[in-house]
């Protein structure tokens, strides 16, 4: 068997996975594309294990490990997706733009303007117009335990809210 064949199949599969990760909007589809990329690696591992005639079968063992890790990854990924869905009512990647700078430069200029209450809520405030922002404050508060819990709590800069609560 020429090694080129599995290698080329693997390369094509990997590229298709790249395309899926970059182009798909639904987070679950992105997860599927990641699986495609993992499988492309697996083909490579198996083919080269065979080509090298490894006595220890490192390639195939590693393939097994990867399959296991992929299963764990899918499980965790889906849990994150579900948490995301609970918080945002959406799993569309291009609506999750909390990383972006707010559109209005004036709001960035005064930095910690006391709006530091909840990162998620703040990001929603600055979402581009035309997108559906259905997040209710209640849901956001409840979601503190989930994906953006690291941001929402334990971050100094919003004493006003705490003082108000106290």
């Amino acid at each position: 068997m020429h090694i080129v064949y599995p290698a080329v199949v693997s390369a094509l599969l990997f590229s298709i996975g790249v395309y899926g990760v970059l182009a798909r909007r639904n987070t679950i589809l992105v997860l599927m594309s990641v699986e495609l990329m993992l499988n492309a690696v697996n083909i490579n591992l198996v083919a080269f294990d065979m080509w090298l005639a490894d006595v220890l079968h490192s390639g195939q063992v590693l393939t097994l490990f990867i399959i296991v890790i992929a299963a764990a990854e899918v499980g965790l990924g889906l849990a994150i997706v579900l948490a995301l869905f609970r918080n945002r009512q959406s799993v569309d990647l291009d609506r999750l733009r909390a990383l972006a700078e707010p559109a209005d430069p004036a709001t960035t200029a005064d930095g910690d303007n006391g709006a530091g209450g909840d990162n998620g809520a703040r990001a929603d405030d600055h979402q581009p117009a035309g997108l559906d922002t259905v997040t209710s404050p209640q849901l956001t508060a409840r979601g503190n335990g989930a994906s953006d819990q690291g941001d929402g709590v334990g971050r100094p800069g919003h004493p006003a809210r705490r003082g108000g609560n106290a």
Binding site: I3, V4, V8, G20, R24, M32, E35, A79, A160, G163
Partner: protein, 197 residues
């Protein structure tokens, strides 16, 4: 690692592998282009199945069965659950692709071009004779439980961690830890003293 053997005519195994590879690549393409979420999952099943066939041709039988069991059996089912739980539309939906499609296509094509070029350039002459029984369960089992036993155990811990993590993430009644007292004391806003009412 053996050299030699001309490309043409291909052997029977090669033809079978190429056909399976074509099925896998084709169904993978469908996975990333289809307009229906559920169909994507189903095409993924086909892709994984074809790949399992490919592993069989490459004499890695145990990997092939594990592929069928875990990927086709577990992962895809998990994904289908995910689709269901996120209340995704079952029928055709027009907006499965983001606006990033063109950039993604360019990057993916470039990736494919670079990888294929490099692979063909590097392994043009590589040839491996296929010996049945190399990847049988017994062989692999001996290897895993002798040489690779430590990583294997570590993987089991990893799986446990993933399990717990998934549970914590999924449950809504587990709250995040409240801000610690030390942090509140070091709050740099003396006007809002912690005394309260």
């Amino acid at each position: 690692m053996t050299e030699a053997a001309p490309f043409l005519p291909p052997t029977t195994q090669e033809v079978v592998f190429l056909l399976l590879g074509a099925v896998a690549v084709g169904s993978a393409l469908l996975v990333v282009t289809t307009k229906q979420l559920v169909h994507a999952a189903l095409w993924l099943v086909l892709c994984f199945g074809a790949l399992a066939g490919g592993y069989l041709v490459l004499t890695a039988e145990f990997v092939a069965w594990v592929q069928v069991l875990i990927y086709v059996g577990a992962v895809v089912v998990l994904l289908l659950f995910g689709i269901m739980l996120t209340r995704a539309p079952i029928g055709r939906s027009a907006d499965l692709d983001s606006g990033n499609r063109v950039v993604a296509a360019v990057v993916a094509l470039a990736t494919a071009a670079v990888l294929v070029t490099v692979v063909i350039d590097g392994f043009r002459t590589a040839y491996a004779p296929l010996k049945p029984g190399e990847g049988a369960a017994g062989e692999l089992g001996a290897s895993v439980f002798s040489t690779w036993v430590l990583p294997f155990e570590a993987l089991s811990v990893l799986l446990l961690a993933a399990l717990i993590g998934a549970i914590v993430l999924s449950r809504t009644d587990i709250r995040g830890a409240p801000p610690s007292a030390g942090e509140a004391g070091g709050d740099p806003a003396p006007a809002e003293g912690p005394g309260g009412p």
